[in-house]
């Protein structure tokens, strides 16, 4: 007995090594196949940065210029690569600078793991230098968070962090590690990935009877309509979705977050939903008889006034998050589960069909929108350039192959309305939170997430000034990011609302900008500004063909508006095509 026990002890001793908590963090990242970390050092995370010094060959670290930039970059990386984005930040201000990005990642279900340093455990609660209550500050904006005060917890806690961030409905996780735990030496017995937590059920069990009910509804429908969101992309179910759409013959429209899950030029692609989405999908939401919602959450920007939303339709809702079912819109059939599993089951049971008359309705709406809005936007008659024509030219040069990262405002809506996307994971935007300043750092992350593709960041003159310090990150680490500023010399989207709903009382939307080209030059990034249509095409070509990053400023009309629009407080069918209808 005794010898057996001793032998056992001996073997365990053999398989452990003594390492620091900090090194355990880095070993965890390698075990999770992390290749890039976005971060910024500081006092409370110095032991981890010290350990990083020896891991530099295996782990790329991108030194951002502000922690908000780090988390947006991690988001861009995650959205493009499908992997978990990783952030390092120090305690106090380092951690609080992450909050906007956490909120953004939370509402857009983006998997990120943020590791923040924290003061020594014995100083917790003493208002020590750079101490903030990171766990409580971040609780509402994280899927999970945890404070580590003992190094022995690090391997298992990080395993949980990666599992939780990436599984089920993904989201951000914060792991706050006190400095003593980073420094502590302990017996490390290796890293075991987490695959199960008893209180956490990432995927609801698929119930066949609901699939059958859904199929029955779909098979009996005369005017069925599919609306889909990012769930299709997060579930890596693009193929399954395409098969479903093509067999069903049903027109499919996307939310801003779902864009790109099927090619934007697909014959059954019906366009974008929402406040500045396309005319047809909004209007016909209120004419369809069966509405099939897949991996989307009926955000108010999509539904408009809820009591006027799809009242005539029977709603089938496929979602992985049980809390989304019936949250905003009452469903007839809830298909709970991962759409990668539920879609093939549903496809199996539905009949192959076509709906020529119903599709014609979409085409008619498209024609009306073309004539009243799109034509003028893409091929303006006047001298003033439109954002739409910039997008048209960009499409012609990138052929829908680029990753389009957008900031927030008019340019975001125009970009999402007109950009062509052949591939999934091409659209990186701040959908749920609408975070100005998102695009530049997110584009840096996107460029690391998939270096084989061209990344174009489309940003307003306002939003660019929120995080333009990340040009320094580009200067130093040279990710290939094409920066396109659509400059209307206003905080355009707010100005549009002031024009339409506040009697043109332009209150603090007139924003002056520095010479962006000179600014870029200061960071060693070439660029140019165009204000004349005749220079646009070649400027875009120069940007796309540039060896590395490039900044192109396009001066567009100052007071152009984005239409169509579902004005706030109105139903989707009350969508207007121009300011005369508002």
């Amino acid at each position: 007995m005794e010898t057996l026990a001793l032998q056992k002890e001996a073997t365990t001793v053999q398989t452990t090594t003594t390492i620091s908590g900090s090194e355990a963090v880095l070993k965890a990242l390698l075990a999770e196949k992390v290749d890039t970390v976005f971060g910024y050092p500081g006092g409370a995370i110095m032991p981890i940065y010290d350990a990083l010094y020896d891991y530099n060959d295996r782990l790329k670290h991108i030194l951002v210029r502000h922690e908000q930039g780090a988390i947006h970059a991690a988001q861009g990386y995650a959205r493009v690569s499908g992997k978990v984005g990783v952030v390092f930040a120090t305690s106090g201000p380092g951690a609080t600078n992450l909050v906007t990005g956490l909120a953004d990642a939370m509402i857009d279900s983006t998997p990120v793991v943020c590791i923040t340093g924290q003061v020594f455990a014995h100083l917790l609660g003493t208002d020590a230098f750079q101490e903030t209550d990171v766990i409580n500050i971040t609780t509402p904006v994280t899927k999970w968070n945890y404070q580590v005060t003992d190094a022995t917890e690090i391997p298992s806690v990080l395993a949980k962090a990666f599992y939780i961030a990436g599984s089920g409905r993904p989201g951000p996780v914060v792991i706050d590690i006190t400095k003593n735990a980073q420094l502590q030496m302990f017996e490390y017995a290796g890293y075991k990935r987490c695959e199960h937590i008893r209180s956490y059920r990432p995927k609801p069990i698929v119930r066949k009877e609901y699939i059958q009910q859904a199929a029955q509804l779909i098979n009996g429908a005369e005017r069925p309509f599919i609306i889909f969101g990012q769930g299709v992309v997060l579930g890596k179910a693009e193929k399954e979705f395409l098969r479903f759409v093509e067999k069903s013959g049903i027109p499919a429209a996307w939310t801003i977050m779902g864009m790109g899950a099927i090619p934007t030029d697909h014959p059954l692609a019906a366009g974008m939903l929402g406040m500045h989405g396309n005319y047809g999908p909004n209007l016909l939401t209120n004419e369809c008889d069966v509405l099939i919602a897949i991996g989307m959450r009926f955000d108010d920007r999509v539904t408009g006034r809820l009591d006027k939303y799809a009242k005539q339709a029977k709603i089938v809702h496929l979602d992985i998050d049980p809390a989304e079912i019936d949250k905003n819109v009452k469903t007839a059939v809830p298909v709970w589960g991962d759409c990668k599993e539920t879609l093939p089951l549903l496809t199996e049971l539905i009949e192959q069909k076509v709906y020529p008359q119903w599709l014609q309705r979409f085409k008619d709406c498209q024609a009306k929108e073309d004539q009243k809005v799109i034509q003028n936007e893409l091929h303006p008659a006047g001298d003033v350039m439109t954002m739409g024509e910039v997008l048209r030219n960009l499409n012609e040069l990138t052929n829908g192959e680029a990753i389009i990262v957008t900031d927030v405002g008019q340019h975001q809506m125009v970009a999402c309305r007109y950009a062509k996307m052949n591939n999934t994971r091409s659209n990186v935007t701040s959908g749920g939170l609408g975070t100005m300043g998102f695009a530049l750092p997110a584009a840096i992350g996107a460029a690391y997430g998939d270096p084989s593709r061209t990344t174009v960041a489309i940003i307003g003159d306002g939003g660019f000034q929120m995080t333009l310090q990340e040009l320094g990150t580009i200067m130093q680490f040279k990710p290939n990011v094409k920066i396109m500023i659509l400059n209307n010399q206003f905080l355009g989207m707010v100005r549009q609302w002031q024009e339409l709903f506040h009697q043109r009382r332009y209150s603090f939307v007139d924003i002056t900008s520095p010479d962006f080209v000179q600014v870029a030059k200061g960071f060693g990034i070439p660029g140019q500004s165009v204000s004349d249509r005749k220079d646009l095409r070649s400027a875009l070509e120069t940007m796309i063909n540039a060896d590395g990053s490039y900044l192109l400023e396009v001066m567009v009309g100052k007071e152009n508006n984005v239409f169509p629009m579902v004005p706030q407080g109105r139903g989707v069918a009350e969508i207007v095509l121009g300011s005369d209808e508002v």
Binding site: I135, N136, T139, P140, K143, W144, N145, Y146, Q147, I164, E195, H196, I197, R198, S199, Y200, R201, P204, I205, R207, E209, D321, P322, A323, I325, D326, K327, P334, W336
Partner: protein, 196 residues
């Protein structure tokens, strides 16, 4: 749908910070928590929250889904008052001399089932376990006699139809939980989705 009192029972892991995570689900929606109690449960290592709120059933159901969504929550149930057996405990501190002098007080205390917990020369502490109306009533009774202090505990509740959590927990331990574990996801049980 009108508002009424619901008792929410939440089975959770015993984790620091979880109380906050659950509390903010209510505060974020500007919903007042009438009573909150945390305690161990029938299962070792599993914690139990009992939360009382006044809301419509639709709101309560949505709240329970948000609660269950939390990584460290095993299960959330909601019940109306007739579906549970519940108690609250109240303590009353009154001057001993008044009780000693007034025979009436002793009779009143007896009528309300009050039990003396501490008797000192200067004050006496009584306890009453019961429903809110009962404990409330005694406050009014004792006020004229110089009630010095009053405090009432959070509600504790037993769900009448429950078989306890032992069997359920086994399901959660499995990689692929059985239907027991996910009964909340059964919408066809209609309004009863969250009851046991």
């Amino acid at each position: 749908m009108s508002k009424q009192e619901y008792t929410i029972t939440v089975y959770t892991e015993n984790q620091i910070g979880l109380l906050n995570r659950i509390a903010i689900i209510f505060s974020r929606r500007k919903i007042n928590i009438d009573s909150l109690n945390t305690s161990p449960s029938e299962v070792d290592s599993v914690h139990r929250f009992t939360i009382v709120i006044n809301e419509t059933e639709e709101v309560v159901r949505k709240l329970c889904r948000q609660i269950e969504k939390q990584v460290e929550v095993l299960k959330a149930y909601y019940n109306t008052a007739d579906e549970i057996v519940w108690q609250e405990l109240a303590l009353y501190k009154v001057p001993t001399e008044v009780i000693a002098a007034e025979v009436k007080v002793e009779r009143l205390l007896r009528e309300h089932g009050a039990k003396a917990v501490v008797i000192r020369k200067d004050y006496t502490v009584f306890e009453v376990a019961g429903h809110r109306e009962e404990t409330d009533k005694l406050i009014r009774v004792l006020e004229p006699f110089g009630l010095i202090e009053f405090v009432r505990s959070g509600r504790v509740a037993i769900i009448k139809a429950s078989d306890g959590f032992h069997e359920k927990l086994k399901e959660f331990e499995y990689r692929e939980p059985g239907e027991e574990a996910i009964e909340n996801e059964y919408l066809d049980q209609g309004e009863k989705v969250f009851t046991m």
